[in-house]
Symmetry: C2
Subunit: 177 residues, 2 copies
């Protein structure tokens, strides 16, 4: 499909959806997973500290182990891959902005996945202590590496649609009131 | 320029840059500002709470007032517009995930701006109390509305380039070590 860059990007932002159902047995290639992570690392970060780390999972045993510890991420059992977006506290002088920077990186990954015909969904580690502990245990993360979210990735089965979240009352012009 | 959706989106993610210098006197239309805000509202949010509010500024007096209170956002003096991305604490049951949701929304706005030939940059309100207070005062924000960032928007003068932040050491495959 040919289109203008502007239309493609805007359309992709609006067609991105949370995809929790994947085509069974259809794997995601390592090159595609690398493209997703590179998109993540293109996000802006406060003072260019890049306070992040990405763990890519494509082994069935690890995905299953993670699913066992994350009751809200059971779709990992059916996902062929996942990307865990983590903060690196050693690189965040503020101790706070890694959350923002890693969220922007996660959004880049979700948008890249949509554009590549993949399906993905942000499942929370932060701010839940139990989910964070489950991810830390499954991946063997050191104390300075804190998971923000786990993003399962697969080929969408096509049943899930984007939400329309446009609400005029959430927009103000020039001042609050 | 014609291209595939995938290539357009990935290329746009990598060409997005922090733009602090704008073509003098070239205004950004209200329709374009609305397109940016709609892109922001297309971001995913925890439990679909949409805990956000967007304030669009295009009046010189407000932009200047904001610049006076934000020493790291002096480029507001030269920007024809800005979007202030705020959390709405009344809509965030956790009190924490608005930061993530609004960061994803801000990233959508930055990416949409890049695709539209506009230049934009994330300037922090959070986590700084003084900058937050300056934005609250300039816009008359009520107590439940908390600014995350101020995004000046204009037409880039073309001198600023994207950073290459790809670092192989920030990627792990399958487990930490």
């Amino acid at each position: 499909m040919e289109t203008s860059k502007k239309d493609a990007v805007i359309e992709n932002i609006h067609s991105r959806k949370s995809v929790r159902k994947y085509v069974a047995g259809k794997l995601v290639g390592k090159d595609d997973l690398l493209t997703l992570v590179k998109a993540g690392m293109a996000a802006p970060t406060a003072k260019n500290m890049q306070p992040w780390a990405f763990v890519v999972l494509s082994e069935r045993s690890t995905l299953d182990k993670l699913a066992d510890g994350l009751i809200y991420a059971k779709m990992l059992k059916a996902a062929p891959a996942a990307i865990v977006v983590c903060g690196n506290l050693d690189k965040d002088a503020s101790g706070k902005t890694w959350l923002l920077d890693c969220s922007a990186a996660a959004q880049n990954i979700l948008l890249a996945a949509e554009a590549m015909g993949l399906g993905a969904v942000w499942t929370a580690a932060y701010p839940y202590e139990d989910r964070t502990a489950a991810v830390v245990a499954a991946l063997g993360l050191p104390p300075n590496i804190v998971p923000l979210c786990v993003i399962p990735v697969g080929y969408p089965d096509g049943t899930e649609k984007p939400k329309d979240k446009w609400k005029e009352e959430n927009l103000k012009w020039e001042k609050w009131s």
